[in-house]
């Protein structure tokens, strides 16, 4: 395995910022640690980079041990590149010199070629002799990426690489960054609190909470088959609807019987929460089921309606925007779920 973390623990005093983190990343894959702030994702990244020692577990790359309790390979010997949240470009060096910083050991020609190649890939060949403060945020970001990739590290770590950029730029750059990483065949690990970013860049995403991984999976699986209620909550939008298990694969709700994709270990008669994504709820004027609109968000192509059911429960529905309904109106709906996941009720 290219990168492997096994039961990694990092404590600060009594607090365990990272608390038993394990995952593996294949060569050429782009991983992502996703989670709310304070979940330990950045600490995990700093442990991998070697800026923090670890208290338990091991970190390996390519079968080299990078860290274990009490011992670390110094950051400068790890072959782990890093792109920082604030980019941390060297202000006294030009774009070109920044990129060249980590490859001073290469012969002049090789170095030149590598710089040209990288600046070409990140689209900054024309700004090579400018200083960081003369660049826009997006350009600085790309310089940081090129600089980190220049020494051909085993792994590139990206710490919230888009957080200091504006939203517009973020989406565009995240696609570009993925392109660049894939083009150069780099193995990368990204840390973010933004699910869009994670999904746009990563092949595989781990959702972290309190220093632990809740789930390590592809974005599709995370969205449609969240392993825990936390993941279901954190990833995408959705609402929980109460139901009663009537057969191993069926749950009765106030919107009718819902088919589960796989049989759970539920008791017949047990009450469960079903995760309904907004796209699981279809607007249908012909439906006998109706719900009252209590909030709406216009999203251009669609409306995201918050609907109140007879029981008072609220669900979300994504409706094409020509169906323009006012708050307070009742509209017909039906369920058309692809993947329905049930969770034990959080409170009885």
């Amino acid at each position: 395995m290219w990168l492997e973390l096994k039961d990694v623990v990092r404590r600060f005093g009594r607090l365990s910022a990272v608390n038993g983190l394990s995952f593996e990343l294949e060569r050429g894959a782009i991983g992502c640690l996703l989670g709310p702030s304070g979940c330990g994702k950045t600490t995990a990244l700093r442990c991998i980079a070697g800026f923090e020692p670890i208290d338990e577990g091991t970190i390996r790359a390519q079968d080299r041990v990078l860290s274990r309790p009490g011992s670390v390979l110094p950051p400068e010997e790890r072959r782990v590149g890093m792109v920082f949240q604030d980019f941390a470009l060297f202000p006294h060096l030009t774009v070109e010199e920044n990129v060249a910083f980590g490859i001073a050991h290469l012969a002049r020609d090789a170095r030149r070629r590598r710089i040209d190649e990288l600046l070409e890939v990140v689209g900054l060949a024309h700004r090579r002799s400018q200083y960081p403060h003369q660049l826009s945020g997006g350009e600085q970001q790309r310089v940081a990426l090129a600089r980190a990739l220049a020494p051909q590290p085993d792994i590139v770590l990206l710490d919230e690489p888009f957080s200091s950029l504006d939203v517009e730029l973020r989406e565009r750059l995240s696609v570009q960054v993925r392109c660049v990483l894939k083009q150069l065949g780099a193995t990368a690990l990204l840390v973010t609190h933004d699910q869009q970013e994670a999904f746009a860049v990563a092949d595989v995403v781990g959702v972290m909470r309190d220093g632990k991984l809740e789930q390590w999976d592809t974005p599709y699986e995370l969205y449609h088959r969240p392993a825990t209620r936390f993941v279901a909550d954190f990833i995408g939008q959705g609402a929980f609807l109460v139901g009663e298990v009537v057969s191993p694969t069926q749950v009765r709700t106030e919107l009718g019987i819902v088919q589960l994709n796989s049989a759970g270990t539920w008791r017949i008669g047990q009450r469960v929460d079903l995760l309904l994504r907004p796209d699981d709820v279809i607007h249908d004027d012909n439906s006998t089921l109706t719900a009252e609109i209590c909030a709406r968000v216009f999203r251009g192509a669609e409306f995201l309606y918050t609907l109140r059911l007879a029981s008072g429960a609220e669900i979300l529905a994504l409706v094409p925007s020509h169906h323009d309904h006012a708050i307070g109106e009742r509209i017909g709906i039906r369920l058309e779920p692809d993947h329905v996941v049930a969770f034990e009720r959080s409170e009885p």
Partner: protein
């Protein structure tokens, strides 16, 4: 098994790395720690009988005096140094380019020289009051110069450049930009200064003021001219007057408690400090153009300080040098000058380089033990010069005696005689002990403003340790490094006690000449070497201007 061993190679124990860096730093700081240890161990053999006397008759007055002096001089230099730095770094007014470097020059005038001239000129018998009496019949309304206020004024004029130099480098690197940013947010220039520019420059201002406070604590020359009793004068009185170096060392240990307070205040003022990134290399916001009365007032204040702190003393020295000391000027001055320059510039280089290493190690492996070590090593600046000189010389002599005994055992009567205590190496080691703080403070506060992410970025690119220092920190800290080197250079030019006690036979410097003349009260004849010291001090100031222009 061997496979596992191979796989683990290269791994460093974290704790071992910490211990190693502590050990390295300890060795590096050793010369500075030795005199400190000498002072502190004196506490083990208390001179109880003298103490009782000191506690009853000396300490109460001396404690109050010292406190008033240190607080007064620190506050006054902080205000004056910061204000002038702000004016010259972010505003434009007539002759601003001249004042930018001219305001640094009072640094080159030793404070005891300024004190002597001030007292001579302003005292009852001095020309000013004599003239007033002649014209108005009385001068009794003139406040006495030999007073607490007088000492504070003179030390402030003499020491404010420490704050000025450091605050200026802070304002130059980000003052105008920060100010501009604040003003776009609707703040007035005045408000922008208080809310944004000043807080950003705080680490520098505090670092400079801490140097001033320490120098004030250690000052003997200037306060003696005023006959103002401080801890330092009490130390010398116990030593030279009561022949008790132990009591002197104990007083010095109490003095260190003052320094601890300075350190704690300094740390506290930085506690909430946020790291700010980088400096602009070429982008500069325009200066605030002062007009009319304001421009005149700015120029007038700068001119007044320059005149009082530099021009008038320089003129007085020149007059004395020409009228009274002309006969002293001979070919030997080439040697004095060369010796002074050699010592001052090598000390400046060594201490600036060592400070960079120390500051970097503290940054990289920050731990309580390490910080304590570094703080301890920079305390030497507050210990009165002669005490420190003896504190470092005595252990070196001990080493020399050991070596001599060994040689005697090996070679018998043919043993060569060694004299470590009067070598340039010893002089430089002692300078290191005394002036580490002077180099360290500017560099540490500069380093504090570089975000640690920059270090990590370099390390993740495979560049750590010396490479990181050389390729990232040194260029980013250029201004701080130059400031540190200049301060050390000028301080060493003026330094007496260490040079006196440890210099090789016949190796006299300009400061030694000043000592020879002043110690028997021949101040006018001391004007010649003092004048040369001041003139040599112009060299680094000029260098700084050229640098400043280059950066701008």
């Amino acid at each position: 098994m061997s496979a596992i061993a191979g796989e683990l190679s290269g791994l460093r124990s974290h704790r071992a790395a910490q211990a190693k860096s502590f050990a390295l730093l300890f060795v590096l700081c050793l010369p500075a720690l030795v005199p400190l240890a000498a002072v502190l161990t004196a506490m083990l053999t208390p001179e109880t009988e003298i103490w009782a006397h000191l506690a009853r008759h000396v300490l109460p007055g001396v404690l109050g005096n010292t406190l008033v002096l240190v607080v007064g001089v620190s506050l006054a230099t902080a205000v004056l140094g910061t204000g002038l730095a702000w004016l010259t770094a972010t505003c434009d007014f007539p002759a601003r380019r001249f004042f930018e470097w001219a305001l640094l020059l009072p640094l080159a005038v030793p404070s005891y020289v300024l004190a002597f001239i001030a007292v001579g000129f302003l005292d009852y018998a001095g020309p000013l009051q004599s003239w007033l009496r002649e014209v108005f019949g009385s001068s009794s309304w003139v406040p006495p110069i030999r007073s607490t206020g007088g000492v504070i004024c003179v030390l402030t004029l003499s020491l404010y450049p420490y704050v000025y130099l450091l605050a200026r480098s802070a304002f130059l690197t980000q003052g105008r930009r920060a100010q501009e940013a604040a003003r776009t947010l609707g703040m007035s220039a005045f408000k922008a200064f208080w809310r944004v520019v000043l807080p950003l420059a705080r680490p520098w201002i505090v670092a400079g003021t801490a140097l001033v406070a320490m120098e004030t604590l250690a000052d003997f020359g200037a306060v003696s001219v005023f006959n103002y009793d401080t801890f330092t004068t009490a130390i010398y009185r116990a030593w030279f007057g009561m022949f008790s170096i132990d009591a002197a060392l104990e007083l010095a240990a109490v003095l260190l408690a003052f320094v601890l307070v300075v350190f704690v205040l300094e740390r506290r003022s930085r506690a909430k400090l946020r790291f700010t990134t980088t400096r602009d290399v070429s982008h500069r916001a325009p200066r605030v153009e002062l007009r009319g009365g304001r421009a005149f007032a700015a120029a007038a204040v700068a001119a007044l300080i320059f005149a009082l702190g530099f021009l008038l003393p320089l003129l007085q020295l020149a007059v004395w040098a020409i009228t009274r000391a002309r006969m002293d000027f001979d070919a030997r001055y080439v040697g004095f000058l060369w010796h002074s320059l050699l010592l001052a510039s090598s000390a400046a280089l060594i201490i600036a380089a060592a400070s960079l290493v120390v500051a970097y190690m503290e940054r990289r492996h920050s731990s309580l033990a390490l910080r304590t070590l570094v703080r301890g090593a920079t305390m030497g600046y507050a210990i009165p010069g002669t005490v420190l000189a003896v504190g470092i010389l005595v252990p070196i002599i001990g080493l020399n005696n050991l070596l001599q005994d060994l040689l005697a055992r090996w070679f018998g009567d043919a043993a060569p005689s060694v004299l470590l205590q009067s070598t340039l190496l010893t002089v430089l080691l002692a300078y290191f002990a005394r002036f580490l703080a002077v180099g360290f403070n500017p560099i540490e506060s500069g380093l504090n403003r570089i975000t640690p992410r920059i270090d990590e970025a370099a390390m993740s690119l495979g560049v750590g340790g010396v490479g990181l220092l050389r390729r990232v920190h040194a260029p980013l800290l250029r201004t701080s490094l130059v400031s540190a080197a200049i301060l050390v250079f000028v301080d060493v030019m003026k330094e007496m006690p260490i040079t006196l006690i440890a210099r090789p036979f016949g190796w006299d410097t300009l400061a030694v000449r000043v000592f020879e003349m002043t110690s028997e009260g021949e101040w006018e004849r001391a004007a010649l070497p003092a004048l040369v010291i001041v003139l040599v001090g112009l060299i680094p100031a000029a260098l700084l201007t050229r640098r400043g222009e280059h950066v701008a």
